[in-house]
Each structure stands twice: as C-alpha cells, then as structure tokens.
C-alpha cells in the first residue's frame, strides 16, 4: 500500500491553464487595480478571455469550475493558488462574495431557493457582515441587535469589513436577538440592498492591500426586514425542517472549509514572488559575489520547500472534506502554517532584489501588502493556534 499526493493529469492541466492565463491576462492590470482601489477597467472582458471555467458569479450561466476526480475541495486549492498566482485582483472580480454561503449552510429549502440558487445560476454579488468595530475574533461580542417587532426584525448597529457590501444584492448580517444568551443569541439575517435603514458609511475602506476587494463600512438604523429573512426561519417562526444548527456556529462553519483555500492563495502569491525574483536574480547574477550567489540559490530552494510543506497541509485538510470526514483542526493547521511564512517569502524576495524589490516597478511590494490580511481574516493565526492547542490539551488551553 502506498500513499500519494499526486493530482490527476486533468486537474494539473486545469491549474496550468489557469496560471498561464492569470499571468498573461490578469497580472498586467494589477497595478491599476491597486492604484484605483477598484477593479481595473475592462475587468469583465479579461474574465471572458479565461480558457477554463472559473465559476464567475458576475454573469449568468458562467462555466463552472469543472469537476475533477480529485474532489471538489482539492480542486479549490488548485484554483485558488493558480488564480492568485497572476494577481489577487482577479479573484476579487470573480468571487461574488461569501454572503450566500451561510444561506446554503443554515437556510431553509425556501431560503436556499430564493437567495442561494440565483447566485449560482444568474450571478449575483452578496455581502457578508460579521465583523464590528469592537469585535473580530470574538464573535460573541457582536453588538448589532435584531429586535422582533410583529412580522418584522428591526436591526441596529455598525459593521466593518463587509465584503461586497456597497454593491451586494443582499447582505447576510450577524446580529444578536438576545444579548444575555451570548453566542446562542446570535442569528443571521438577509438584508436586501436598498432596504431603508441600511446605510453604506464607506463604500470601500482604505486598506493596506487587496484594495480592489470592496469592503464596506455599514450602519443599520432601525432597518426593518420581514421575519422570514432570518436564516432558518419562515414567516411563522423557526422552520421545522431547519438545519437545527445555531446561527453563529452554523454560519461560521461555512468559513472553516475555506481556510485552506486562502492559505493556497498566500502560497500562490509567494510562489509568484519567488518566480519573479528568481528570474530577475538570474539576470543580475554577475552582480553577486560567488559566496552570496550560492546563498541566494540556497534561500530560493528553502523558500520553495517551505511552500511545498504548506501545500501538503492544505491538500490533507481538503482531502478530508472531500472524503466526508472534515477536520476543523486540519483546516486550522493549514491556515495557521502558511500565511505568515508566505509573508516572509515575499519579504525575503524583495530583500534579495534590494530597493528594486520594494519599488512599484515590480508587484512584490503589492503582494506583500495584499497577503498580510490572510493571517488575519477568516480566523487569525492566533485563533488557528488556539484550535490546534485545544486538540492537544483540551479546554485547559486559555
């Protein structure tokens, strides 16, 4: 009996085509996306030129990401790494947001039909509003309230980092219905765009990186939505055929599966930095003393090995999901391992190139800014360590 990390030829070929396209078509517009804090002009046409299915949600009936024998989640790793290898702006253009994921996870069949299916079949942008100014990692501190008023919920509070917020068809909003109940009091609500009381305070926050990814600051002021817009509910109250999962736990578990994917994005950007740096360094080899050049080659090799370690952890975590035996800890290990090391890879590549490396002539400085968020969002590196530590030492871990 043996084990194998070998991907199928079909998936490998898909990854290669995606990478070539992202380098040649998407990368040239990366600087514009960063400077404008928005998608580059003609972004949709660039996506039209992609030779393989990438599951666009901005147009109806887009070609989905193909099914490969390797499994759906393993496929996503190849997708994320190669798509981002060109530049992350293209992912922010394709991704229609993640607001529809909680709908799929904890919505009633009717809610899934109404809010999830159209995103997949027609292409829509959805928003996801969880983080608040005073709470990030500790989601039990959510202060946005949802008060029942007859046939309605009335929302009040502030949200930051709402991805897609300003242009979303609807936003899934985490709010507490009962502060005294702590995490169990948190539920998820669908707030359609243009609902009175939904205020876009800042359409796009001014960020260090991934500037073309729209993240909005929102305020809810007596924002009234129907009772059945609470996920897992009908107009008559809690659905009998609901998932039975609590709002917060259920919706957040939708994020756990995505953790190795964002780690794969970090690896894509780090690998791109390594490859760009290697090419430039080889051109400039004559500038280095023999001893330094030997070190440069050793460093490049070590960085490649570090990225490969991260890839294996990602593959294992998503393989387990595809097998129907997902492991929250495997996902935490994957996301805890790679992002910070990838930051260091990009930094080291910039250093090896000298001031040219940190100049805007190259994209390494952009990728260094872009990927900093990966060790923060969807569970910080510290939260991943907590999950791993709890597996080792149980609740004794503080």
């Amino acid at each position: 009996m043996s084990l194998s990390f070998q991907l199928s030829d079909e998936l490998t070929d898909y990854g290669r085509k995606l990478r070539d396209w992202s380098v040649h078509e998407a990368r040239p517009l990366a600087r514009e996306a960063d400077d404008r804090h928005a998608l580059p002009d003609g972004w949709s046409k660039v996506l039209d030129s992609c030779p393989v299915g990438v599951g666009r949600t901005d147009v109806p009936d887009a070609e989905p990401i193909p099914a490969f024998p390797d499994g759906e989640k393993v496929t996503m790793l190849v997708y994320y790494e190669n798509l981002n290898y060109g530049d992350p702006w293209v992912m922010t253009a394709i991704g229609g947001g993640i607001g529809h994921l909680p709908v799929k996870k904890i919505g009633t069949p009717a809610q899934i039909e109404k809010w999830y299916t159209p995103v997949i079949t027609s292409g829509l942008t959805t928003g996801f509003a969880l983080t608040e100014p005073q709470c990030g990692s500790d989601t039990s501190r959510i202060e946005t309230t949802a008060m029942r008023d007859g046939d309605s919920w009335v929302l009040n509070g502030s949200k930051i980092f709402c991805s897609g917020g300003a242009r979303a068809e609807y936003i899934t909003v985490f709010a507490t219905t009962d502060k005294s109940a702590g995490p169990r009091g948190i539920a998820v609500f669908v707030v359609p765009k243009d609902t009175p009381g939904l205020i876009i305070v800042k359409p796009n926050e001014s960020k260090l990186g991934i500037r073309s990814q729209l993240t909005s600051e929102l305020r809810f002021e007596n924002c009234v939505i129907p009772v059945e817009n609470r996920l897992g509910w009908t107009a008559a109250g809690p659905a009998e055929n609901g998932s039975g999962v609590s709002g917060q736990a259920g919706a957040l578990s939708a994020l756990a599966d995505n953790r190795p994917n964002v780690a794969a994005w970090a690896i894509g950007s780090a690998q791109a930095s390594l490859d760009v740096a290697r090419e430039r360094l080889v051109e400039r080899r004559a500038g280095f003393t023999g001893r330094r050049w030997e070190l440069v080659e050793t460093e490049l090799g070590r960085m490649n090995s570090a990225l490969d370690r991260g890839r294996r952890l990602n593959l294992k975590a998503q393989y387990l999901v595809d097998q129907g035996t997902p492991s929250r800890v495997a996902a935490a290990i994957a996301k805890g391992f790679s992002p910070q090391t990838c930051e260091r890879v990009v930094l080291r590549c910039m250093q090896l190139l000298g001031p040219e490396g940190t100049s805007k002539q190259l994209l390494l400085e952009k990728w260094y800014r872009d990927i900093k968020i990966i060790d923060i969002f969807e569970g910080t590196g510290q939260i991943q360590r907590l999950l791993v530590a709890r597996q080792l030492m149980g609740r004794a871990v503080g």
Partner: protein, 376 residues
C-alpha cells in the same frame, strides 16, 4: 563601560522624540500623499541641527558625534521613518561636504542647513548585498579630469537635488573616494520614478553615472583622508539601523497600548500570552538591535585608527543594520497582527510603519547576515 546617557544625550533624545511626535507623526500621511515633506516640517528638522549635520554658523557649533546622531535618528523615526530618513539622508550629503569637502564644497553644506528648499543627494548603495569595500562604482582621476562610472540604487532626491555626492572606489588602489556631481549633468541617468512600498518622501531613484568632471570635483580636492571618509560612510549606513529601531519601537508601543484596550473573550487581549509574548519577544529584539547600533556608533566615534579598524567596523555596521531592519520588519508585522483587521486599515498608522519597515529592510540587505526562516 558607560551606559548611562549624559544629560546632553538625554536632551537630544527628548528633543528628537518631541519633534518626531509633534511634527513628523502628524505630517506623515500628507507627506506621503504629496510625495514630499512640507517646508515647515523640513525647516523644523534642519533647524534642530539633528539631521543636517554640518559645521555651520547656522546649525550650532559643529558636527554631532555618531552616538548622538543615532539617538536623534531613532527618535525622529519614532515619529515617522519616511520623513526622518528623507531629512537624515539629505543631511548626510551635508555631513560629507562639510567634513570632507573643500571650502567651496562646504558652502553647499551650509546651504543645505539654512535653505528649507535645498535637498542633498547621496549616491551610495549598490544592492547585491555589497558593502562599501565592494562598491563597483569607480572614481578615477586622469590629469585634470575626474571620471565617475557605475550604477547606484536608492539615491534620495536624485532628481530634486542640485548637488549630488557619489561614493565610489579608485580601482587602482581600492580606496574609497567621493565626488561632487552638479545637478543636471548629462552623464547622470535617472531610473524612472517608480515609487516604493514605503519611504517615498525621500524620492529615491536608481542613478547611472558616466560622468567626466574637472578634477576639483573630487570631494576634498587632492587632500582627502580615505579612512575618515570610510568612517563617515559607515555612520551614514548606520542611520538606517537606528531609524529601524525607532520604527519598531513605535509600532510596539502602539500595539501594546491597543492590546490593553481591546477586549475579546472576556478580557483585554494583552491578557493572552499569544498576544503579550508576541510583543515581548519583539521588545527583546528591539532592545538588542538598539544596543548593537549604539555600540557600532560608539566605535565610529572612537575611529580614526586605520584600515583594519575600518574593516571590523564595517562588519559591525553591516550586522547592526541588517538585524535592526529585519527586526523592524518583523515587529511592525506583529504589531499589525495584534491590531487585526484594524491594522489593515489606514485609520491606524501601523500599516504605514509596516510598509516603511519593508523598504528599510531592502535598502542595505546582505544575504550573508541572516537566513530565510519560515514562521512555523
């Protein structure tokens, strides 16, 4: 052994810290957006005598020593590394002109001290991990002509300065030399102004030299002292290390304050060792870097001995700069991490320090000084 700051040194630290916090820090964002430092801020800096270090009737009674220079650099960078280094680098050109130049050349230094619109440029770094003893830019004298040939990187105010000091070596002797190149010389080629991840207000560019000048363009004319020049060059390199220490300390202090205020899981996040030890580790590194920079500066002040001393000093400066700048990159990174999503927004200044530290870490990097280390 003397590790207690004299009253004079403590006063310089206080003055620089005050300028940093009161003038530089509030101006940091607008300076970055404009790509230049506001005249009033520049005047405050040159007027303090902490950045434009030259013998001048305007700037006090002479040149501060290297230890004092580093203390000033650290505390000004505590305010903002971009503005601090722009002024320190411009001042470095004044230092060379004043300390090693002829009377005419020293006149340029006096103008850099007194005219708020004047900028000095210094072409020194060459990348590839090269130190001064490996710089390949050549400065040769042939009869009545002085020839400068080579490529430099990270030359501050390369386009704006009307006087540019370039450091190189005489290939026949291997001895360090410097030349004063007038702005706009046809043999000077500027790389495009690409911009950078940080430190943009210094307007640094790559510069190519293929210049023929009158022989009196040599810094100091025919009476230059190569050892003294080498010591000044090491002092100027060390400024980057000192600025890195100040940048790191500021980010650390900011994150430490935030960690005491921010509540999660029932307490201030400083109550979690995952946060507090992260910052404590960095405080240890910052303090080690600060002392390393200080000792190298003290050695420069002892200087004027001979070629062997210059060699060991060069090693000390190289190590100190590389350790301090890597420490700044890692420290600003962890500070940003402690602020979480807020750190990623420009509502807080940590992202600016994170970018500045990345630029600092690449200016004078030498792969011989540290190995790539994965985070986990």
């Amino acid at each position: 052994m003397e590790l207690t700051q004299s009253d004079e040194l403590a006063a310089v630290a206080e003055l620089a810290r005050g300028l940093g916090l009161d003038k530089l820090s509030p101006a940091a964002r607008s300076a970055e957006a404009a790509g230049q430092v506001d005249d009033a801020v520049w005047q405050a800096l040159t007027g303090s005598g902490l950045t434009t270090v030259a013998r001048t009737e305007h700037g006090g009674d002479g040149v501060i020593d290297a230890v004092t220079h580093m203390v000033a650099a650290e505390h000004l960078a505590y305010g903002d590394p971009g503005i601090a280094l722009a002024a320190l680098w411009s001042g470095a050109a004044a230092l060379l002109l004043s300390e090693h130049g002829t009377t005419t050349q020293a006149g340029h230094a006096r103008r850099l001290c007194s005219d708020a619109s004047a900028r000095g440029a210094l072409a020194m770094y060459e990348a590839f991990g090269r130190g001064p003893d490996e710089w390949t830019t050549s400065i040769t004298t042939d009869g009545s002509r002085l020839t400068v040939r080579g490529s430099k990187v990270a030359v501050p105010f390369a386009a704006a300065a009307d006087v540019l000091v370039v450091i190189g070596t005489d290939p026949s002797t291997g001895i360090l030399r410097a030349a004063v190149v007038p702005g706009g010389d046809t043999g000077v080629t500027l790389d495009p102004a690409y911009g950078s991840i940080g430190l943009g207000v210094a307007q640094s560019r790559g510069v190519g030299f293929d210049v023929s000048l009158p022989a009196d363009a040599a810094l100091g004319g025919d009476s230059s002292d190569p050892v003294a020049l080498a010591l000044s060059v090491e002092r100027i390199r060390l400024l980057v290390g000192a600025a890195a220490v100040g940048t790191a300390q500021r980010a650390l202090d900011y994150a430490a304050e935030y960690a005491q205020q921010r509540v999660a899981f029932g307490r201030a996040i400083a109550g979690f060792q995952g946060v507090s030890f992260l910052l404590a580790d960095k405080q240890m590194q910052v303090e080690a870097a600060r002392l390393e920079v200080t000792e190298a500066a003290a050695s420069i002040d002892l200087g004027r001995k001979g070629a062997d001393d210059v060699r060991s000093l060069r090693h000390a400066v190289r190590e100190a700069v590389n350790y301090a700048t890597e420490t700044a990159a890692m420290t600003t990174r962890d500070a940003l991490q402690v602020l979480g999503g807020h750190g990623f927004l420009d509502d807080h200044p940590v992202e600016l320090w994170y970018r500045s530290a990345a630029a600092l870490a690449a200016v004078d990097f030498d792969p011989l000084c540290s190995a790539f280390a994965p985070a986990v």
